[in-house]
Symmetry: C2
Subunit: 675 residues, 2 copies
């Protein structure tokens, strides 16, 4: 492809030039004296049928009809704070859509806005007056984490931030202030840009508010290595690939990449809200998925008391998994032979912001892939389970980290893995007290319970775009002449006919499959399918009238299916800040669309109810959750049969006869039968 | 410790010399002309209080009072087949216990017995006559897999084996005969050592039996690498530890080992039935578990038709995870720097049989352990998640493989991992037919549905031997002045008071904890505990009157708790061959013992309902199930805080700018804040 064609690839992430043009075109809609702040400038993906046609032509090396490049822009008028969204056609220079958002629609926060809010909160005289009463020691510094204000429909029309305050005990700028939370919480109006209220928060077992008094500084509880007595007995472990990695990369536009590895082929994109996006996923030239991404997150907290009852983060909609992606460092975040994807996103001024190393791409060994030993001859056949990992790490609402990864293997499986880590969001509690809605993780420090919900959006294309969702259950046969001993059971499939939210049921071994009913397995005549293995979790606990429930539109079922509709990418709705519900996945499903043999979208909701342990502080050991997508009668045999056998000549393992002493490697001898 | 002390360590696996003495002492109970066959000679662990005292003294470097070495012996009188069990004191030379088993008690099978049964089945004239009707091509060879006869209480007092027959199409001794099953099944009386019946099996959708007719040989479906068109684009991946491994090993007796790694310390033993056994597990000199082992397995099949309704394998009780352990090969079964444990078990003649490399011990990298980035300074702190793996692989009833592993990490967590692989047990089905109790995986070949149940036996010692089991649930607060917005929830603990079987409940986020109520966390006053994370699964489907249900005494709940009782090691009961129930875990719990602050045992039942995919044939990609044991308020902060930071200088990763081309490694630069 020529550079021109590359630049115009419909799925290529937006470029610095496109961001620049978009910003100019948006500003061009306003008088020169109107100052504009940008919330997001991101790729507006073309209508699916256009992209599908393009990809087909590309696959058949036909002439490519170029498709207009468009961006989705969210911006505010700085003077009034009035939020707008626009769709701008970069190719034609037309602003195709430009509207002011509704009264209760608030765009995402951006780092510039958060920095301003932090500044305002700490400089407000009422806040300073309260802080003075703490009589903090010299060197101690007050910090603030602004949180989206959430919604309870009570006087929350304004765009606001609830600022939680903490004390950093020393001059170390990396000291852990979450070990020293305060009960003072300024509320900032982010439109008027002023503190409109200073909340005092309960610290006991009830709603009682205490007068601010001198602060008892507790011991520090730091996580930085220089403050630990580090282990000295961990030996290095290197992953070495003397012939390089097994994957190939080619450019898709300036910033996208097509990755091919072990019969897999897909396009890797990256955007402000979702971060990593995979498109056009094929295995051995067979279509499997059209688009895969993390669509949304919702983290409601358990403390029922004001203002904690509004604590409910939507990390993607409120901020973005792309814009908060870490700059991954070689040898720190990924081990082995690493290739990085870098991105360009926009900043608040509508300028291109380089985002280096937002995704690391590498292979890993995940133990044995399959094995069988013929006990009659002693002949063992074994292959290892090599995986390709695409990892991105995001830091959210200042304290929390999520390590997000798509993992491909040689058996035609794709895993989506979330590792929750980082620092718990803490609040003050009277020393010595325990409460049932949180765990004391440090003297005077409470980590409230909270639920994590993740929505994995799967736009399937199992041997084509017309697919269906079904689920399989196992049931006992009744006692009868057919089942005289009460031991028999069978499996039964149920097709989901209308868009809906559905649940797992371990008691029936219920699992979901995405099928293509038009393509049958040539050996057993079953429709080709991919099955989804997702862990069950407690659904959202907040009651159905609550705003936590209304806002978290993907947290009341394990799996949702909808008919594809342009623009329906975000399970929590387009604008999640102070959202009131009604614009997300729950609403999509209420259309009751037919989803049998249609272009469908499957949304997997998974997560955990985090009842903190003290071991989760001051920084949390990774909690790992995995969703798997596995072929189910898609192939006609184990697709990893052709993986080269696991042999010493290839793996170069080393034998340790005695600790410390490394012996020479032995080679694989033929095995003896045990008989 | 002197060698003498070592040899007499109460937990040391039995030695060749001990096996020899035991066999002599057992034979000595009978006239010289009585010929004896040995089923098992295995360590009879001393009474717990004696071992606990010994380990205490060992820990305090006090003088060690040696404890008599005893073995548990199961044998048969060859002429009559009469099964016996004995406890023999090697130290004193006394046979302390020697009884004939009851009428319905059958000891485990052994490789010698199975080989004899195979021979008999294929040489029987009635079988040969049936096989002749198949008119098999020259070069084709009939193979048989003998299965324990199971039980339905109908004329099954005799010790019997149901032999399933297959055709190996070529002269290749490693050809896959499971792709060519037959509907002829001889039943062998293993006492009289003769074929007592030749069953014909239904191959349609009902119970109809067909006359044997010429066999249609289907295409081969092999798994061996030489029969595949292997991938050529997989590059080597080596795990290199230039300074060696991070663990130390010291001998416990002749064959046991004490392993210390990253603050963990435990004894690794190995026996005929359980395979790997861990004892005296400590972290940073604090007691965590007294004994950990896989106690049993149960795999009931779904086909209700005779004789398939009796298909129900108890891999540990019927054969043994120790005696079927693979001889692991360097660079084939484990990657990296490997230390092996070897064992000595007894054969049918009561002779010592060397079992080399039955456990591989090595470290692996499991991604990031924890991370936090201070977005204000851009300073990132990250550690990797190094793990210690003890892996053993067993081949069961000829066809199936289980890869079993205990995995330790640096955050005080222990995982037990099962990888199911190997070859599905197949049966013939009329070509083109589908049935709801199995999946067609090859023309004319059915893989019946089956459930896998594993019982992980946890003998806890959380800061001492008096522990309790409790479970935590999360519940919503009712709407009230306390919870005006309907968002609040709390967690509540329930203590299990009597021995029982209990279930998971994702809808309440129910998880189980093993607590020591006498030792409180010094920061939050909660009892120190380890929590158990186990995946839920469908319980046994066979009805409560069925013999599958009665025999599988650990498959109707997720978690069981019992009061410790000497000798209660096996969830399925002491003798599982043709067992009728009433001797295993379900019976233990019926004692209704008090289990609050007692010496308790916790049994985790986990598994899967395997609805085969065609991708599981001819050999199955690993299906991975994990159980985790994690500290819960056992420490006073994240125990992996002291892990050295993940740095390029230590990890030596490599940057791949462009595929194929390896650039020089860059080092970790300080990060820039995104603000």
């Amino acid at each position: 492809m020529s550079y021109l064609n590359q630049a115009s690839h419909p799925l290529a992430p937006i470029t610095a030039a496109e961001i620049k043009s978009a910003a100019l075109l948006a500003k061009g809609r306003w008088p020169a004296n109107v100052s504009i702040g940008f919330k997001a400038i991101t790729l507006q993906e073309p209508e699916k049928h256009l992209v599908v046609g393009y990809l087909e032509a590309e696959r058949q090396s036909k002439r490519l009809r170029s498709i207009d490049r468009k961006v989705f822009v969210v911006y505010t008028i700085k003077s009034s704070g009035a939020p707008h969204e626009a769709i701008i056609n970069i190719t034609t220079g037309q602003v195709e859509h430009n509207v002011r958002l509704g009264p209760f629609e608030h765009p995402n926060a951006d780092p510039y806005e958060l920095m301003m809010v932090e500044k305002l909160a700490l400089e407000d005289p009422r806040v300073k007056a309260e802080l003075a009463k703490l009589e903090l020691p010299t060197g101690a510094k007050v910090m603030t984490d602004p949180w989206g204000y959430g919604s309870d429909c009570l006087d929350d029309e304004k765009r606001m931030f609830q600022c939680f305050l903490y004390v950093r005990p020393t001059s170390d700028p990396d000291g852990n202030h979450y070990a020293h939370p305060l009960d003072i919480s300024p509320v900032v109006d982010a439109t008027a840009m002023k503190v409109i209220r200073v909340d005092k928060m309960p610290t006991g077992a009830d709603n009682t508010i205490k007068e601010t008094s001198p602060y008892k500084m507790q011991p520090v509880n730091d996580y930085l290595p220089e403050n630990q007595n580090l282990r000295t007995d961990l030996k290095p472990l290197h992953v070495v690939q003397p012939e390089g990695a097994s994957f190939q990369v080619s450019k898709v536009g300036q910033l996208g990449e097509r990755i091919t590895w072990q019969k897999w082929s897909f396009i890797l994109g990256f955007n402000q809200r979702e971060g990593m996006v995979l498109y056009d996923v094929h295995y051995d030239n067979r279509s499997v998925f059209y688009r895969l991404s993390l669509s949304d997150m919702s983290i409601p907290y358990a403390d029922p008391r004001h203002p904690y009852h509004k604590k409910h983060a939507f990390d993607l909609g409120d901020a973005g998994a792309g814009i908060t992606a870490n700059n991954l460092e070689l040898g720190c975040d990924c081990l082995g032979y690493i290739h990085y994807l870098s991105a360009v996103l926009s900043n608040a001024d509508g300028e291109a912001q380089n985002m280096p190393n937002v995704v690391c791409i590498h292979e890993q060994d995940n133990g044995i892939g399959w094995k069988h030993t013929n006990y009659r001859t002693g002949r063992a056949a074994v292959v290892r389970n090599r995986e390709l990992v695409l990892q991105s790490i995001i830091t959210q609402v200042s304290n929390y980290e999520y390590i997000l990864a798509f993992i491909f293997n040689q058996a035609g499986e794709i895993m989506y893995e979330v590792r929750a880590t980082g620092i718990l969001s803490t609040q003050p509690i009277d020393e010595g007290l325990s409460v049932p809605f949180g765990t004391v993780v440090h003297p005077g420090v409470l980590a409230a319970h909270h639920q994590h919900f993740f929505s994995l959006r799967i736009d399937p294309a199992i041997d084509g775009h017309k697919n269906r969702l079904s689920y399989t259950e196992a049931h006992p046969y009744p006692r009868s002449e057919w089942n005289p001993h009460g031991t028999g059971y069978y499996s039964a499939d149920t097709v989901v006919e209308k868009s809906a939210g559905l649940d797992l049921d371990a008691s029936k071994n219920r699992f979901f499959k995405i099928e293509n009913s038009q393509v049958l397995n040539k050996v057993n005549n079953k429709p080709v399918a991919y099955k989804i293995h997702a862990p069950d979790c407690q659904k959202i606990i907040s009651d159905q009238e609550s705003f936590h429930f209304r806002r978290s539109e993907f947290s009341s079922h394990n799996i949702y299916v909808t008919k594809y509709k342009e623009g329906e990418l975000w399970a929590g709705g387009k604008h999640t800040m102070q959202s009131r519900g009604g614009q997300g996945l729950r609403s999509f499903t209420e259309r009751q669309d037919n989803v049998v043999d249609e272009d469908i979208v499957v949304w997997v909701s998974f997560g955990m109810n985090h009842i903190p342990r003290i071991e989760d502080f001051p920084v949390m050991p990774v909690e790992i959750i995995k969703v798997s997508m596995k072929p189910a009668n898609f192939f006609d045999k184990n697709p990893s049969l052709d993986v080269p056998p696991s042999k010493q000549a290839f793996n170069k393992s080393r034998l340790i006869e005695r600790p410390g002493l490394i012996e020479e490697a032995s080679c694989c001898l033929p095995k003896q039968s045990k008989i």
